[in-house]
């Protein structure tokens, strides 16, 4: 079995909002998979479908080789989940919530529980009502990380955590990866994804727009080029993959898909290059591109 999660063509309609619109997601066993997309893109909805809380209108999903809707209870023995909005029972203490969720999942490791409480610097005696947002998040994280399972599904697990705690979280995920667990990590934080994830999927308006390793994605980004030429750079505009071209006399600036860089340079040198600066591609740019072009979810 090589895929822990495999979803194809998921569609989910909420009234007139099409939250998922043919979404694909494939997470290999043992990898840490980043799941990105702007607000309202459908990340949490996808996760709820994978947990069998929502039933997809169309498409197929396989989770740990089972059907997430039909086999929900048996599959849930093998996974732990941290929701995007952690809501706890106001009258229970953090320690009680951790134990309860752990026991529901079939028990948790007391040594690990204690260790995680220390590392996350969490007081388990406080009533959930009195926790701050970050501390509520920690309760859910400790409950999930202290249980022994194959798959971790984490929906924006670091929202509300301070930078120190983000680092503790990152260390924990590295450890999980080493011990062979699969992690689906939805996030808005690029540095977190770069540091932790083997592969990422980017979704927008309920559709997957990019998926691959970080190296592959870098490849998809654009390089910005500024050149002083010997003559007018005619014909540059005709090269496919060149965008935002501005030519003033012999000077030109443009953006080019990294795969087309070669072709652009060949053309420029044929004219004659006096000076050339190029800015290396960044992932940030790629993400921003997908985030910016965001349109509201399709309404039927």
């Amino acid at each position: 079995m090589d895929n822990a999660i495999s979803a194809t063509g998921l569609v989910k309609q909420f009234g007139r909002t099409r939250a998922l619109d043919g979404l694909d997601l494939h997470v290999a066993t043992g990898e840490v998979h980043g799941f990105l997309g702007p607000n309202g893109a459908g990340k949490s909805t996808t996760i709820r479908v994978l947990l069998g809380l929502l039933r997809a209108d169309e498409g197929t999903a396989t989770l740990l080789s089972g059907d997430p809707w039909r086999d929900a209870t048996t599959l849930h023995r093998r996974l732990a989940y941290v929701p995007g909005d952690v809501n706890l029972w106001p009258t229970l203490s953090g320690g009680e919530v951790i134990d309860l969720l752990g026991r529901l999942r079939g028990g948790l490791d007391p040594v690990r529980r204690k260790d995680l409480l220390d590392r996350f610097d969490l007081d388990p005696r406080k009533k959930a009502r009195t926790y701050s947002k970050g501390n509520r998040q920690k309760v859910a994280l400790v409950a999930a990380l202290a249980s022994d399972c194959e798959l971790l599904i984490l929906d924006e697990p670091t929202s509300g955590l301070d930078p120190l705690m983000e680092q503790v979280f990152a260390d924990c995920i590295q450890a999980e990866r080493k011990s062979g667990r699969t992690v689906l990590l939805s996030s808005h934080i690029l540095s977190e994804v770069e540091a932790l994830c083997d592969r990422v999927s980017i979704i927008r308006a309920g559709r997957t727009v990019e998926t691959g390793t970080l190296a592959e994605l870098r490849h998809l980004t654009r390089t910005s080029v500024t050149a002083e030429l010997a003559g007018p750079g005619d014909g540059v505009a005709a090269i496919p993959g060149v965008y935002d071209l501005v030519a003033e006399g012999n000077r030109l600036t443009c953006e080019v898909d990294t795969v087309k860089l070669d072709e652009l340079l060949r053309h420029l040198t044929s004219v004659g290059v006096r000076s050339l600066t190029s800015q290396p591609p960044t992932l940030e740019e790629l993400f921003l591109r997908h985030y910016e072009q965001d349109e509201p979810a399709v309404t039927a």
Binding site: F14, G15, R48, L51, G52, L53, L54, R55, A72, T73, T74, H76, R77, L79, Y81, P83, D85, N87, L88, W89, P90, T91, L92, S93, G94, G95, E96, I98, D99, L100, L101, R103, L104, R105, G106, D121, L122, D123, P124, R125, K126, K127, R129, T130, Y131, S132, K133, G134, N135, Q137, A140, I153, G160, L161, D162, L164, M165
Partner: protein
Amino acid sequence: MTSTRRAPARGGGTRTADRAPAPAAPESGGGQHSFVGTGTLVRLALRRDRLMVPIWLGVLFLLTIMSSLSVKDLFGSAASRDQLAGSAGATPATVAMYGPSWDVGTLGGLSTWKMNTMGTVLLGLVSIFVVTRHTRGDEEPGRLELIRAGVAGRYSALTAGVLVALLTNVVSIPLVALGLMAGSVGAGPSFGYALALALVGFVFTGLAALTAQLTESSRAANGIAAAVLAVAFLLRALGDTTSQISWLDWLSPLGWLVRFRAFAPQPHWWLLVPPVVALLALLVAGYLLAGRRDLGAGLLPARLGRPAASRLLSGPFGLAWRLHRGTLLGWSIGFAVLGAALGSVSNGLDDFAASKGVRDMLQALGGQQALVDSYLSFTMALAALVVAVYLVQSLLRMRGEETAYRAEPVLATPVGRLRWAASHVTVAVLGAAWLLVLMGLFAGLGRGGDDVGHQIGRLLGAALAQLPAALVLAGITIALIGLLPRWSVAAWGLLGLFVAIGQFGDLLKLDQRVRDVSPFTHTPTVLGGTVSATPLIVLSLVAIALAAIGLLGLRRRDIGAA
């Protein structure tokens, strides 16, 4: 004051566990700027209540107009009213439930007789809910923080909630008065009664302004205020049925209302003063507390909990028990007190048999024992309605868990939907049975006498016979949650309809087929009658079928807020 303060809902997490509360902003308690923003908050509150409040007021108006029109229609002649006053009006059960029947001989007195209880419950509850919703209800989830951080003074939310609740009561005055006048009741007494009724709502507005300061949870604030409403009812019921303790009436806003006697030749106008004094006193107390405490805090500071879960809290049932137990404890106390009070009232029934006319009627009805039994049966039927309220409330909590996204982490574990739902249903149903046992037990103890054991046995049976009808309401609630989750609060509407059918059925001379719609119509009279088990079995089967349909629906539908 040591208290835990809610950390900001948003913004960076704190490094260590929550910090100690920052000292309250140095704004002084009394300044005018403490009320800044009240106008905006009133408009916001009116907008948020634009559906809820009109529905409550609409129900009140409908009840009034139905009552007055049917009285004019069916009891138009003074003779027919006098006859009713001599029969139904003279039984301790109806006096306990609705108040003394002094003025039942008049059109207005008869039209409003049953409104005394229904009207005060409606106006009392809506006042409590409105105040709590805009004060503690906003404070608990941290919404108020957002508002107070903007330009809104310390007392603005409390003032806005109180103003909207008072306005609701003021609007009820012309509605009730016009409803009565539709039945040819004179304008003066109609407005007088409507005013006295609204003043009861004023008292509970003041009370809610106080209870909203006491606890950190709005549920508890509502609960305490509603419990006081129940006590006010009990005090009046006891005072009106037992002459030795009739002074209890004077302690209760409901007592003030029934003794005001709008339709007597000389109404006791001075009885309009105590509610206003009570309102002012309660408001002063509420504002004093509001000025002294931190945002988010209650009077009782939150205590630390256990660092680890006990063995009891290991599964869905343990969780459901934990979530329901506080509410059940409150209800248990209420039922024990109610049972004991109503049981002991039955001992004072001799007073009723004192007059010659009543004695004759009693003979016709089958003697003193029959009178007591019919009173106790009536009481038990009342308990059935209250238990149904408990069932609907605790089952809707299941839906509340879902909409608050607290069901999600549980359902993401190996706990299936059916087991999750079963945990809540089991706790609710066993809780309801337990409450009826308490009712029967304490009614038997209160009844006392030489054969307490026998009385307890009889009354336990009579109390438990009420369970199947109440369970039908549980079935309805589960069916709604499973099939029409967005409409699950409609369970309250149906319960209200059934209560209205039961309470006003005879007054409106409703068709038997209409009365049969209510499950409570079918509960047999256990005391002093020959009991057939068939209706109880049928009711139970209906309840089970409804629950099964709901659970099937729950298995097939999406889990979530919408």
